[in-house]
């Protein structure tokens, strides 16, 4: 099992879609996932904009369905194995994980992103003690408490609305004077009496004793500094690519996302990328699965040409 024609690094929507397509095309396919298959949907409360689910679907349920669909067509899925490096070797690629090496003729990188951190004093100390990057995971600990969400995009607003199920009050702290989030989400948030917006403001530090007690805020327009007492802070300020395993191998953009052409090819023949880890993409579930299908098709063509060459 440590050799395959195609190895897909990352078992989220993009990687599992690649696996569905390549396994159905009878390509010997292995997916290597650092945790459990499913990717970002596992940590997403509810998905409303994925076609075919008019009532929406819970993230974990969709993740589960993607996984079983990939397995149904014969893809092998290896779990709990973080990939540390992908190297070009004689006959293809070596994929080094924490526990060993795998070899393949072609690779699809579908490793997604991780939450961007605030990088302010107190963030690291209080992670798990009031600072969280996952409302679905930790929201229930804040029943009748006061929390803040920092960010102004779709995730920040979706999760702020989700947190109103538990918290008595949710502040949304945003450094601009308007949101980037979809209009439909904005309208819901503005109509929610538990949500209060704090505009043009950044967090300078997170303070407390054993747990988070207050945020030091600074208004960017007035320069005014203030204290906001909260029990928790949820950070949704964007994402960074999980591309470190190929940083010495493929061309990345200035933010570390993998550069590909429209066929998901990187600058290295046989190495493809799909989903959120790819540069210049609209990072959505629907686009990730589209990428995954294209990458599998490109990998299939590449493997076909390899055989032809021999």
């Amino acid at each position: 099992m440590n050799e395959a024609d195609l190895i897909i690094v990352g078992g989220g929507p993009a990687g599992l879609t690649s696996a569905i397509y390549s396994a159905r095309a009878l390509i010997d396919t292995v997916v290597i996932e650092k945790m459990l298959p499913g990717g970002q949907p596992i940590l997403t409360s509810f998905i409303e904009n994925y076609p075919g689910f008019p009532e929406g679907i819970s993230g974990p349920e969709l993740a589960e369905r993607l996984e079983s669909q990939a397995r149904r067509f014969g893809a092998k899925i290896i779990t709990s194995q973080p990939v540390e490096e992908v190297l070009q070797v004689d006959k293809g690629f070596e994929i080094k994980t924490e526990e060993g090496s795998f070899f393949s003729k072609a690779v699809i990188i579908a490793t997604g992103t991780s939450p961007r951190k605030l990088n302010v004093p107190g963030e690291e100390t209080f992670t798990g003690r009031g600072v969280s990057y996952c409302a679905v995971c930790d929201g229930a600990f804040y029943k009748d408490k006061v929390v803040a969400v920092v960010g102004g995009g779709d995730s920040a607003i979706v999760e702020a609305i989700y947190l109103t199920r538990f918290a008595s009050k949710v502040y949304v702290i945003h450094r601009r004077d308007q949101l980037r989030a979809e209009k439909i989400l904005q309208e819901r948030a503005f109509a929610n009496s538990k949500i209060t917006f704090i505009w043009n403001t950044v967090i300078q530090s997170i303070e407390g004793g054993k747990k988070v007690e207050l945020l030091k805020l600074k208004n960017l327009k007035t320069e005014e500094v203030s204290d906001l007492p909260v029990d928790g802070l949820f950070v949704y300020i964007g994402s960074i690519p999980n591309s470190s395993m190929v940083r010495n191998l493929v061309e990345l953009d200035e933010n570390g996302f993998i550069i590909t052409d429209n066929s998901m090819r990187t600058n290295i023949p046989g190495l493809f990328a799909a989903g959120d880890v790819r540069s210049n993409t609209f990072r959505q579930l629907a686009t990730a699965v589209g990428d995954g299908a294209i990458a599998a098709n490109s990998a299939e063509k590449y493997l076909g040409e390899l055989i032809w060459k021999r």
Binding site: L36, P60, S80, E98, T127, G128
Partner: protein
Amino acid sequence: MSLRNSYNRIKAVDSSNFDSEVLNSTIPVLVDFWAEWCMPCKMLSPIVEEISQELSDKLKVVKVNVDENPDLATSYGIQAIPTLLVFKDGNVVGEIVGYVSKKALRDKLEEVIG
């Protein structure tokens, strides 16, 4: 390794037996604070089960459901799950918050219990 797998092989403890099972244990104890609805907990539980078998001679592993035992969660300041606490002679000697890989967990345990 599906997310629907139940987390059955690890002994559940609650406030009635926490003292005898954890605080008064003669060997170090790894306590997994978890809940049914917590996806990262479900990702971590197969790893905790494997570790409990591999280190069964020197480490005891138990789980605490935070929904059923909010008192225990509060007294140990649990605000995110999964949280793993390592107890030695009744004291917390190690803490891991969030999902970790098996290797990272093994390394951490070796550091605190030797």
